[in-house]
């Protein structure tokens, strides 16, 4: 999977590519519109991350160019501007998703996977992890072929974990992924605990191994090692 990161902030770009490389992506980057246009014209990318505020113009121009040339790349807009107009315009011109800085890398990763799933029709819809397989379209979870009755939140949680396998996910990033902005205080982290223990219990009950590990006071990790 090839990802193009168009971001003028060097530190941010290295952080993003470090995380994505550890997830098995091939990352390239461009720091401005000129560089980005050249790369887009020469290579094919599965997903392109575009920062709106670039030194030589607005990143939304690139989205328009991409859509005009009917490139089959997924596009995610990254912006420091939490402005509704940019968001609506970005999605209108054909971006697949929108993330406001500062975002969690685990969240970015989950969004990229979701965009890629929606774009790649030829591939399998199911995501598999050892004996667990889930289908994001039908919201179905199976363990060794048996359907596990998960709630919507538990399913979202499992999908988020499977998108960020073997990564430490902080409670905050999980809360933000599941509830967006509604949760902004630590006393609500108990909710996550409840959801995670329910999910873990259901998976084990249906015969899956225990992949969910607590990481001290920080968060959780979904791993088979």
């Amino acid at each position: 999977m090839k990802v193009l990161i168009i971001e003028d902030e060097h530190e941010l770009q290295t952080a993003i590519s470090a995380y994505l490389k550890s997830e098995g992506y091939v990352c390239e980057h461009a720091a401005n519109i000129k560089e980005a246009t050249e790369k887009i014209n020469i290579y094919e990318y599965d997903c392109i991350l575009i920062d709106i505020g670039l030194p030589d113009g607005n990143g939304l121009q690139l989205v328009e160019i991409l859509k005009k040339e009917l490139k089959n790349s997924g596009v995610i807009i990254l912006t420091a501007k939490n402005s509704l107009e940019d968001k609506i315009f970005g999605l209108d011109v054909g971006a697949d998703d929108y993330l406001t800085k500062p975002f969690n890398l685990s969240e970015l990763n989950a969004r990229i996977r979701s965009v890629l799933r929606r774009r790649k029709f030829e591939g399998k819809k199911e995501i598999e992890f050892n004996e667990i397989s889930i289908n994001p379209d039908t919201l179905q979870t199976c363990v060794q072929g048996k359907t596990v009755p998960l709630t919507k939140k538990e399913f979202d949680l499992l999908l988020f974990f499977l998108s960020n396998k073997k990564k430490v996910l902080t409670k905050e990033s999980i809360a933000e992924h599941l509830w967006g902005d509604y949760i902004d205080s630590a006393d609500n982290f108990d909710f996550i605990y409840v959801h995670i223990s329910n999910l873990r219990k259901k998976l084990i009950d249906y015969g899956a191994r225990d992949y969910l590990h607590t990481v001290y006071g920080v968060g959780y990790k979904f791993t088979d090692t």
Binding site: E9, E11, L12, A15, I16, A18, Y19, S22, G53, A80, K81, N82, L84, T100, K101, P102, F103, N104, L105, S106, K153, K167, V168, T170, E172, S173, W179, D181, Y182, I183, D184, S185, A186, D187, N188, D190, F191, V194, V215, Y216, G217, V218, G219
Partner: protein
Amino acid sequence: MKLLNQTNLYFISVSLVIFCLGGILFYTLFEIIIDNDIAHKLHERKTYNLKQLQKSDSLLLYQQYSANMLYLRPTGRPETTTEILSDTTIYDDVLEERILYRQLSFVKMIHGKNYFIQIRRAAVEQKSLLEGVVLLEGLLFLAFVAVLTLVNNRVSRQIWKPFYAILDKIGKYKIDLAQSMSLRKSNIDEFNELAKAIETMTDKINREFNIQKEFAENASHEIQTPLAIVKNKLEILLQSPELSKDQMDLINSASVAANRLSKLNEALIILSKIENRQFHEMTKICLNDEMDQLYANLDELVRMKELRVEKNYTQRLEIKMNTHLLGILLENIITNSIKHNLTGGRITISITDQTLSVSNTGEPLKVPSQKLFQRFIKSNTKSPSLGLGLSISKAICDTYSFRIAYRESAGWHTVSINFNPAETEIVRPEESRK
């Protein structure tokens, strides 16, 4: 008082004085002219009458013949050259009233005998002269005022037209629309100067406002990017193998603090955007539906805290405002009612024709309630919340002139919003007692 009425009033009072003085002048002038005329006529009469009397055989017959115009009686006084001019009233048989006469009295020798003679002429009474003058002056004055006011109003309306046009434009000026004032040229220099001054002023204001706005936007961008770097680097650091528990804790607290900072920054930017009135689009939204939708999203949080929610909608309440802002407003109030609630507590939501009130059970407030809408005020200083939720809500309400209020009574905390406070100021004490 309008400028026009003010000037009219000045004109009228000044002209009243002038007309009064003119009246007095007129009156004296008339009196002098009439007096002179009568004296002149009396002298003419005197010459004529004396000539006739010299010719006449019977003086008494002549007197009778002349009626009240001539009076004579024999006298022992010697003939004089002096004549006395005086006024008298004589009863008139025909008119049956006393009539004012002016008379010339003197002694004259006729046919060798001295006679006291009075020659008379009916005079105009002062009273009727005064009446005449006052009436004339009054009518003139009224006509003058009427014409003056009419002309003045007509002319003024025409002259002040550009002024009112400028006034109208200023009234409609909205800073957040960044419109430049283009005022029409008129043929009055003063108004053109005013228009120019206003144009320069608004241009300057617009420029300053844009600089401020850009600063707020840039500040957000500039702060969010380094924050994003901090957050992301910490996240990558967290993935390093073989971290000790202490190291993990350090990374975690740093990342929690970075998150908090970024939320704070976001909230402050929203607050400044609201205060700068940068949310323009308005839509008609049904509050009841929005409320139900929001509660559906937050259902989980409600169930986790085992809260009992009671909805009390007496009416469908429709409001015209920005959807995004209504979302923020309701979310702040509702998440507060959940966050600051007791486990197993209750929430009551009432919607009437113009108010929304959300009451929840909870710990007593530790800060004075009037301070609650200020920035960074938190009842529990240890709580991780930002203390900006209610000030954002207040800023939103202020934008639309809604009235937001907080009450605490008997363990219930109530936040109520009156969406139409101008029409009626209803205080419902029973709400706080629920």
